[in-house]
């Protein structure tokens, strides 16, 4: 049974459609990246999943239950870090961590102290004096110190410095090794690439891509850069070769092309035939995936700006 199973979720606010036929699933033990630009609907999806907002249509199951009707028993089994952490200004960080832990009832005191130390958080300070990053740490420690089956993390590192990000990465890896499920929403691609097995990419409330990282890489093109001594025309003419660029250098002609994975078998012999001197092939990063999906938005923006 899936930990999270969302199918055809639609949610509108007035005339705006925030979520449109969205699908999202997390299996037990899976770490799912949930990617999208600002305003894509990541936090709205999570709020529906937590029973804070009601779905307009579609089916939303959390541990097989209805998150709106059975919120309390379901929430016992998950821990949550909100995207924009708000705390009670008059309480200290330590008090808030304890309070949230007691609500759930599974907080481990030793683990709490260990996490406070790892994240270098001062638990004596009143919440009103914390910076954004420190507020985030409070929510992270409270969530990670609880013994949950599912961790829902909404852009959890957006206020953390790189050192603390590394600590966070470690902690999520530990959760993965223990077989916990994680839904990690982010717009930081490297973070998702480091931590997640599977990825769902959304834009304007719709899923534009979903699958394992390996699957998604399969769909993308590898960038091949080579210097050839002969005529590169045969290489450029292959099916599945995109965006060809050539440049004369001292050693010969530098050829840069993006190659569909399926066409690689035909491109390599063609390069050999043209007399290859140097060759570099770069695997697609999630960055490229992302740019492909949001690239048309960027292009539209740029052309608008040019006008």
């Amino acid at each position: 049974m899936s930990v999270i199973d969302i199918r055809g979720l639609t949610k509108t606010f007035g005339r705006t459609t925030a979520l449109d036929q969205l699908d999202l699933s997390v299996a037990p033990g899976e770490v799912r990246g949930f990617l999208g630009p600002n305003g894509a609907g990541k936090s709205t999806t999570i709020r529906v999943l937590l029973g804070l907002l009601r779905a307009d249509s579609g089916s939303v199951r959390l541990f097989g239950g209805d998150p709106w009707a059975d919120a309390v028993p379901l929430h016992r089994r998950l821990a949550y870090v909100p995207g924009d952490v708000a705390l009670w200004p008059g309480l200290t960080g330590g008090e808030i961590i304890d309070y949230l832990g007691r609500l759930r009832g599974t907080a481990d005191r030793r683990r709490r102290d260990e996490l406070i130390e790892r994240f270098e958080l001062d638990p004596h300070k009143k919440a009103r004096t914390y910076s954004k990053g420190n507020r985030q740490k409070v929510a992270l420690v409270a969530a990670l110190a609880s013994d949950a089956e599912l961790y829902v993390l909404d852009e959890p590192t957006s206020g953390l410095d790189p050192l603390m990000e590394a600590v966070f990465t470690d902690e999520v890896r530990a959760l993965r090794d223990q077989g916990r499920s994680v839904l990690l929403s982010s717009h930081i691609l490297s973070e998702v690439e480091k931590l997640c097995d599977t990825v769902t990419i959304i834009r304007a409330g719709r899923v534009v891509e979903a699958g394992t990282l390996a699957d998604l890489r399969h769909l993308t093109r590898t960038r091949v850069t080579a210097v050839v001594t002969g005529d590169p025309t045969a290489v450029l003419a292959q099916d599945g070769v995109h965006d060809p660029r050539t440049e004369d250098t001292a050693e010969g002609t530098r050829v840069t092309v993006d190659v569909d994975d399926a066409a690689m078998g035909a491109v390599l012999p063609a390069l050999t035939g043209a007399g290859v001197v140097t060759l570099a092939a770069t695997p697609p990063s999630l960055e490229d995936l992302f740019m492909r999906h949001y690239g048309d938005d960027l292009a539209a923006l740029e052309s608008e700006a040019a006008r």
Binding site: R47, Y80, P82, P89, L91, G94, Y99
Partner: protein, 540 residues
């Protein structure tokens, strides 16, 4: 200085455009208040009634609620306006000044907006200077309007006296604006600044009252309170200007002090720094009820102290009032309609009117706690954090409402107890403790209607939760002026207190109280039902 004040002009224009409605409402209300007061005293009171009122003004009760008693030997309508109205003018304008300064200095820092502004080409002192400048402009406009209104409305036409009455009050209010500026440097939060400033205002009111009670027309103690400086101008009696010079002098000292303090603190921090707290939560802090109590207890304690002292003091005044007011009512039909014409029931009737204020104070606490607290948590996002845990919506809102209505009820009981203790302290035996308990039993359900209505509105449509303040306004108007203005029955029925036995004058009957209790229960059930079926909205 020009560097530290850079950009003041821009900020002044920005504040004026942001607050134009708020400022116009204050100016119009103050003008209407002083004009109405002048007209009412000239028309409702004839010469014997004024003479009787002058007698009341010699008593402690009159001094506390009025002034030092200049001109009581020849009490004309405008002498009465100056003697009794100045305190209320100064009080209202000072409250306005404090709210304005907190809003544009400390609260801006707290919200983070000041950081955006200060990052621009804006000097360190510019926000405070702009707040003070706009306050001074606002007070100058109010002075002109009030002076003209008093001049036009009064039979005794004297522009210098009218100007002294309005201008003196405005200058004292400016002093309290400067007090708020200093308090803003000391406290760590906007709410703390407001509390400190209001405490200073309360102290000034108390010192003035005590000083004038020592000797009619003021003792040395009176002069320690800025409020006395406006009253000591003796407008409409024997006008003198020099006492009010103390106000700008103190104002200047306070502004310089605030400037010196500001140089020693960081943006967003106070000199009385937020102290570090415990690294672990106390054992008791488990569950929404415990957290809500932790959030509310400070405000509740201060309300309890304030209301307790106020109603105890009112209770102690009862013996004076009993002797003096009976004569007054006998000679004045309008006051008779308000207090009842039976001189022996005078103290009961007065307590009955006071009870409207007692119950409304407790009701206001209920509204603030039942709607302000939950709304604050929801828009800040801490509600989301709580509900993401295994906490049901009913449990969370229930906890908030238990404390809101419980606090409201507790304050009502405490206020009535303080009133009773006050009367006992001056040797009165009537009304008895049993009478007071009967009043508590009938007033309590009607008082809780206010908080319950706020809760129901919050449960269904949080944006409309402010509508519960309309009920407060309607209840006050119908309760104070309903009989006087001959309002129709349906209008009187808007007030929850209309449906229960009139306090101290009617026998407490169970029927109305039970009906109001039923209304409270229905509203609370509606609140919980509504809150369970609506979306939780963060950041609105």
């Amino acid at each position: 200085m020009s560097g530290a004040l850079a950009g003041t002009g821009q900020l002044v224009r920005f504040i004026l455009s942001r607050d134009r409605v708020r400022m116009s409402v204050w100016a119009a209300s103050m003008t209407a208040f002083i004009a109405y007061f002048s007209v009412a005293l000239s028309t409702v009171f004839d010469a014997p009634a004024l003479a009787a009122r002058a007698q009341v003004m010699r008593t402690p009760a009159g001094i506390v609620m009025g002034g030092p008693g200049y001109g009581v030997d020849h009490y004309t309508p405008m002498v009465a306006v100056a003697n009794e109205g100045t305190l209320w003018m100064v009080g209202a304008l000072s409250l306005m000044a404090i709210l304005h300064m907190v809003r544009h200095s400390r609260a801006e820092e707290e919200s983070g907006r000041a950081e955006l502004v200060r990052a621009g080409a804006i000097g360190r002192l510019a926000p405070a200077a702009a707040a003070l400048t706009t306050l001074a402009l606002h007070l100058a406009v109010i002075t002109a309007l009030c002076a003209l209104a008093t001049f036009a409305a009064a039979d005794e036409r004297s522009l210098p006296d009218a100007l002294a009455l309005a201008g003196g009050s405005a200058l004292v209010a400016l002093v309290f604006g400067a007090v708020a500026l200093v308090a803003g440097q000391l406290a760590a939060t906007g709410r703390g600044t407001l509390g400190l400033s209001l405490a200073a205002l309360g102290l000034a009111i108390a010192v003035r009252a005590a000083g004038d009670m020592i000797r009619l027309e003021g003792s040395a103690l009176s002069w320690f309170s800025p409020i006395a400086w406006a009253q000591q101008m003796r407008a409409y009696v024997d006008l003198r200007w020099w006492p009010i010079l103390l106000a700008p002098a103190l104002g200047l000292v306070l502004v310089l002090a605030a400037d010196a303090l500001a140089a020693r603190r960081d943006l967003g921090q106070g000199l009385l720094a937020a102290r570090p707290g415990p690294a672990r939560a106390p054992q008791g802090l488990r569950g929404p009820l415990a957290l809500a109590w932790r959030q509310q207890r400070g405000v509740l304690a201060w309300c309890a102290v304030g209301m307790g002292l106020m109603w105890f003091a009112t209770g102690t005044l009862m013996s004076m009032l009993e002797d003096m007011a009976a004569d007054l009512v006998a000679g004045n039909a309008a006051l008779g309609a308000l207090f009842g014409t039976d001189p022996t029931g005078m103290s009961s009737a007065f307590l009955g009117v006071m009870m409207l204020f007692v119950a409304l104070c407790a009701a206001v606490y209920g509204i603030v706690a039942a709607q302000g607290g939950p709304r604050g948590e929801e828009s800040a996002g801490t509600l989301e954090l709580t509900l993401a845990g295994p906490v049901g919506r009913g449990r969370w809102l229930g906890a908030q409402l238990v404390l809101a209505l419980g606090g409201s009820l507790g304050l009502l009981a405490l206020s009535i107890a303080a009133l009773w203790l006050g009367t006992v302290a001056v040797g009165l035996e009537e009304p008895s403790l049993a009478d007071h308990l009967g009043v508590l039993a009938t007033q309590a359900p009607a008082t809780l209607v206010f908080g319950a209505l706020a809760a129901a509105l919050y449960g269904w449509a949080p944006r409309w939760a402010g509508l519960s303040w309309l009920l407060v306004a309607a209840t006050f108007v119908t309760g104070m002026f309903g009989v006087l203005l001959d309002l129709p029955e349906w209008a009187l029925g808007i007030s929850p207190f209309h449906w229960v036995a009139a306090p101290y004058t009617e026998d407490p009957a169970a029927g109305g109280a039970l009906a109001m209790a039923a209304v409270v229960v229905v509203l609370l059930v509606l609140a919980l039902l509504g809150f369970r079926r609506r979306a939780v909205v963060t950041g609105s």
